[in-house]
Symmetry: C2
Subunit: 191 residues, 2 copies
């Protein structure tokens, strides 16, 4: 059922673009790739998204919002467990889809991105850094996080550590390396 507002096809295109970009980056996917997955012709995609920049921008925005919703769903856990659940988003993506974080992929491609997509990347990491820092701050108050930690800086180490570990782990064909890095990062934050 459901009335399907922004058109089912538009959503299908967005999902396909997201999966392809997480796998191969902005320069590694084409309208024809998306068309083949969705079951339409590449020309038809332009009806929903005028340009590749528009498609990538919409994809990045939807990803950022969905990621924020997922983070907001992490309640009722102490700080270390929250960090673990957050990191498990990355672990699951790599293990189940073989893909990277869309934010990280686009950051790597940043130089070649249209401005509007680049702006989404900046917004994505601002959100991530702020959210992780807030978790750490609460953890310090509860005693689960080292009291002498600079939370804003450690948040950046944590996020960049996970992003880098995703790429390196996939690159060296050792996906389980990501989990190792995640657990060690959490360990470093504990008292």
């Amino acid at each position: 059922m459901s009335v399907a507002n922004p058109s089912d096809k538009a959503v299908a295109i967005l999902n396909s673009a997201r999966a392809l970009m997480m796998d191969r980056g902005y320069n590694g996917f084409s309208f024809r790739d998306v068309a083949a997955e969705v079951g339409i012709k590449s020309a038809s995609i332009h009806y929903h998204y005028a340009t590749k920049a528009d498609l990538a921008e919409a994809t990045a925005k939807a990803y950022r919002e969905a990621f924020s919703d997922a983070m907001d769903g992490l309640v009722g856990l102490d700080a270390p467990a929250t960090l673990r659940a957050y990191g498990t988003f990355f672990v699951t993506t790599l293990r189940d889809q073989g893909g990277l974080c869309l934010g990280g992929v686009l950051a790597a491609d940043a130089i070649t991105l249209p401005d509007q997509v680049r702006a989404e990347v900046i917004s994505f990491f601002d959100t991530q850094h702020d959210w992780v820092a807030a978790v750490l701050r609460k953890g310090q108050a509860e005693g689960g996080i080292r009291a002498d930690l600079d939370v804003d800086t450690f948040a950046k180490v944590f996020v960049s550590g996970l992003e880098g570990a995703m790429m390196v782990s996939r690159g060296i064909r050792q996906p389980q390396n990501l989990e190792t890095v995640l657990e060690h990062l959490i360990l470093l934050a504990r008292p």
Copy 2:
């Protein structure tokens, strides 16, 4: 002077390919880009390197060897200072050339890489992890590194943290963020 063994042009092509790949990734540079920089036609590149895969492989191999030589030059420093000098390789690359580590860029592009290039990526990170772990182990013996640290795991956190921070820092247009992450990683390793 100098007799110039592997042909000056071949070296110039390699250097151009390295800079372009560090900036835009494997799928973001072309034979025509290299040709324009070196001052020849793109067809002439094929005389030195038959295919793009061959060129990328040779570039990655030269990068890995040059990086190893640079690491071997870091002697006479204690462990924290060695880690700082190592991390400064990354900081300098980002600040002076605006480029990323070639290993990290290729890891991000790993899915789309020819096998021979992918193999170089694996070799690169094996070298990095082993070298950093050895520095940490020596540091533990000297007392400059936390004795309870799992050096093999922290080495991976350190390398992935720098790789991720390079991409994120450039992506959000805050290159100085890389230095912040580097210093914090060193701090976390100290007793």
